[in-house]
């Protein structure tokens, strides 16, 4: 997209709270709430796309990392009184460490076994979260997670209490993830990732160690997922095991494959559609799931490049 268009989009995103208040004054809180979820989901989907779209490893364990980060932040901020910035950093670190630890045995498996292995990891993580009641309070959930406060301990702090403030925080996080995503997927590093994804034996022969690059993408993606988890719990003030089930994997798969795996624009589009569409459609919840499933099926079969693939094929489409 042209530079001007990006700038305009950026300005609109930043000005969203005012735009929403002007256009739909009665529903502005609800719309902002949806936008916050959209931003967080987009960031999470981008982190997932690093693994699925750029190194080509179909991991189904992302909820485990999201959940690790979320619970780390929840437990540290409620039980140990850690400040916001610290518990988010801890969340990122914890998720990355878990990924590094489980990644070693997981990446030894063949592709199919890897997928099922990650699926199992996700399931076990949920079961632990649901049953290790002493730490996570299980289904009773961790409540009372404080609102974010950005600042140094003992010094001046910026409290994030209103919806617009939460929105800007989520937006800032999304922008950070976008920049990191761009950095990781272009230049030499990006080419190395793509080499591993597209032709592993050739990459190995060219001196690019597939295991090293897969682990790198996997760990970074997990850390980012953990960070999003931390932001999520600070917004909702509640964290329950239900937030890290397979349903989250399915949602991420829909976003990434609907939008276009491996493409920034595609995944962002997918996230916006995925969160905005149900609000527009206002369907009964079970029908909504049928439609998601149907949409995912059709898109993955007909246009595996997702919307991004369709956009690229459109005549006159810019890069």
């Amino acid at each position: 997209m042209r530079r001007a268009a990006w700038l305009a989009l950026g300005a609109a995103c930043f000005a969203a709270p005012w735009l929403v208040a002007a256009v739909v004054p009665g529903q502005q809180r609800y719309v902002l709430h949806v936008l916050i979820f959209t931003a967080l989901f987009a960031a999470l989907a981008l982190s997932y796309d690093l693994v699925v779209g750029h190194v080509g490893s179909l991991s189904l364990a992302h909820p485990a990392f999201f959940g690790t980060g979320a619970y780390t932040a929840a437990i540290l901020s409620t039980g140990a009184g850690w400040p916001f910035v610290a518990d988010v950093a801890a969340a990122v670190a914890a998720a990355a460490v878990v990924a590094a630890v489980v990644g070693v045995p997981l990446f030894r498996l063949t592709e199919h076994a890897f997928a099922v292995g990650t699926l199992g990891l996700g399931l076990v993580a949920w079961i632990v979260a649901n049953n290790w009641v002493e730490v996570t309070r299980g289904p009773l959930c961790i409540t009372g997670i404080p609102k974010p406060r950005l600042g140094l301990p003992g010094g001046p702090a910026l409290a994030v209490t209103t919806l617009p403030a939460h929105y800007w925080l989520a937006l800032a996080a999304l922008v950070a993830v976008v920049l990191l995503y761009r950095g990781l997927t272009t230049f030499r590093l990006g080419r190395a990732f793509h080499a591993v994804r597209d032709n592993e034996p050739l990459a190995g022969a060219a001196g690019i160690d597939p295991l090293k690059y897969r682990m790198l993408a996997f760990t970074i993606a997990a850390g980012l997922a953990g960070g999003v988890g931390a932001l999520y719990v600070h917004y909702l003030s509640v964290m329950c095991p239900e937030e890290m089930t397979i349903a989250l994997t399915v949602n991420l798969l829909v976003i990434v494959f609907l939008g276009g795996a491996g493409s920034l624009r595609g995944v962002l589009l997918g996230a916006v559609l995925f969160t905005a569409l149900p609000e527009v459609l206002r369907l009964a919840p079970t029908w909504r799931l049928v439609i998601y499933g149907g949409l995912l099926l059709v898109v993955v079969v007909r246009s595996p490049g997702g919307l991004e693939g369709l956009l690229r094929r459109a005549p006159g489409a810019a890069r």
């Binding site: 529903q27 609800y30 959930c141 999520y232 909702l236 509640v238 329950c240």
Partner: protein, 387 residues
């Protein structure tokens, strides 16, 4: 000239607004689990709301004002409950919310209803924390009709002790309801002098109870307290009989219920002897049961029926009070009016909210025998029970 035209237009608009203004309907939002594994509860709430609203509107509405029902899905999760409340309040512009059926969702929704300023009347979340946090506990916008597990546990445990029970094992659903209730009974058994031999949790929907039944057999307590709903209770009791266990079964949930009897209608004796502590059972309002069965072809569901009772005997009286006193039924006036609701004869007993916005409805003790449910005791409750 311009001035005359403007004034004329304004006058016309004002007149037409006045003339066209029908009394707007009262919008009631219902939030429950409409999808996901717990969708059976949301379905019940939707069915009940449809039936109850129809009933009320057929009688002319509440003081001439019709009711409109709106629904939102909380998927039994606190995160979704936040979305559900915002949708009902901001998009559907409801005046009052009835929900959220599941304790985790209730706790998640509570700060949001306070932030937005919309009254929420809880019809069946049973976590004790909800009472602690409502009313003078800090949240002036939440009210609860259902009893919580602390209240019920103390009463039920004392009843069990009176029956001579000395020891018990607990088998509870592994969710917010089961965990909360199990914790409450742990404390209550201690107070009542009953030994808690073991506590087991099971995932709702999983069908294989044999391993846990052998654990219960080995634990060898005199009785088993099942914190379990009808849909799980049916396979559980069948397998209980299959293994030939002989403990006395007490339950809290919907094990002894018309739903359960419907599931085991081929062999109703499967449920014999189960004693359940509840606050709702079919038979408290036979008219309602009849209408439900006629329309939906299955026995009335507990969560749905509680939502209907909350609507008819808590929310509607509040709307009436608000209309009489203030001439309007908006969120603030409904909230104020709820504090003054004083219903003596709802099917579940008296509905009057105390300082923690808790209604002290009756507990009922039920026994299942030969495919029938029998109310063996109706126990009024009060704050004194907690001492």
């Amino acid at each position: 000239m311009r001035l005359v035209l403007t004034l004329a237009t304004l006058l016309l608009v004002a007149l037409s607004a006045g003339a066209g203004a029908q009394a707007p309907p009262i919008r009631v939002g219902f939030a429950s689990a409409m999808s996901g594994p717990a969708a059976i509860t949301g379905e019940g709430v939707r069915w009940a709301a449809a039936l109850a609203v129809e009933e009320i509107n057929a009688r002319g509405g509440v003081m001439g004002r019709k009711l409109e029902a709106y629904f939102a899905d909380n998927k039994a999760q606190p995160g979704e409950a936040v979305s559900a409340v915002r949708k009902l309040a901001d998009v559907d512009q409801v005046d009052v919310i009835i929900g959220q059926t599941h304790s985790g969702a209730c706790l998640g929704a509570m700060p949001v209803v306070k932030e937005i300023g919309v009254p929420m009347v809880v019809e069946s979340c049973s976590h004790p924390k909800i009472r602690e946090l409502s009313g003078k506990g800090g949240n002036e916008w939440t009210f609860r009709v259902a009893l919580d597990d602390e209240i019920m546990a103390y009463t039920f445990a004392r009843y069990m002790a009176r029956q001579g029970v000395k020891s018990s094992s607990v088998l509870a659903m592994n969710n917010d309801f089961g965990r909360g209730a199990a914790a409450a009974y742990d404390a209550a058994f201690k107070k009542a002098g009953i030994t808690l031999v073991s506590t087991e949790f099971f995932d709702p929907g999983q069908p294989d109870y044999r391993p846990v039944l052998t654990r219960l057999k080995r634990a060898n307590a005199e009785s088993i307290l099942g914190i379990i709903l009808a849909s799980d209770g049916a396979p559980f009791m069948r397998q209980f009989r299959e293994l030939g266990l002989t403990q006395k079964v007490y339950s809290r949930g919907s094990l002894a219920s018309a739903e359960f009897l419907h599931q085991v209608r081929d062999k109703p004796k499967v449920g014999d002897g189960v004693i359940e502590a509840s606050y709702w059972v079919t038979g408290l309002d036979p008219e309602w049961d009849r209408k439900w069965t006629e329309r939906y072809k299955v026995p009335p569901r507990i969560h749905g029926s509680l939502a209907a009772i909350t609507l008819k005997w808590a929310v509607v009286p509040a709307v009436e009070i608000a209309l009489k006193k203030h001439g309007k039924a908006d969120r603030a006036s409904i909230r104020a009016a709820l504090k003054e609701v004083d219903v003596k004869d709802s099917p579940v007993g008296p509905i009057r909210f105390d300082d923690n916005h808790q209604a002290w409805i009756n507990m009922v003790l039920l026994e299942m025998r030969d495919g029938q449910l029998r109310i063996i005791e109706k126990l009024p409750t009060s704050p004194a029970l907690l001492k």
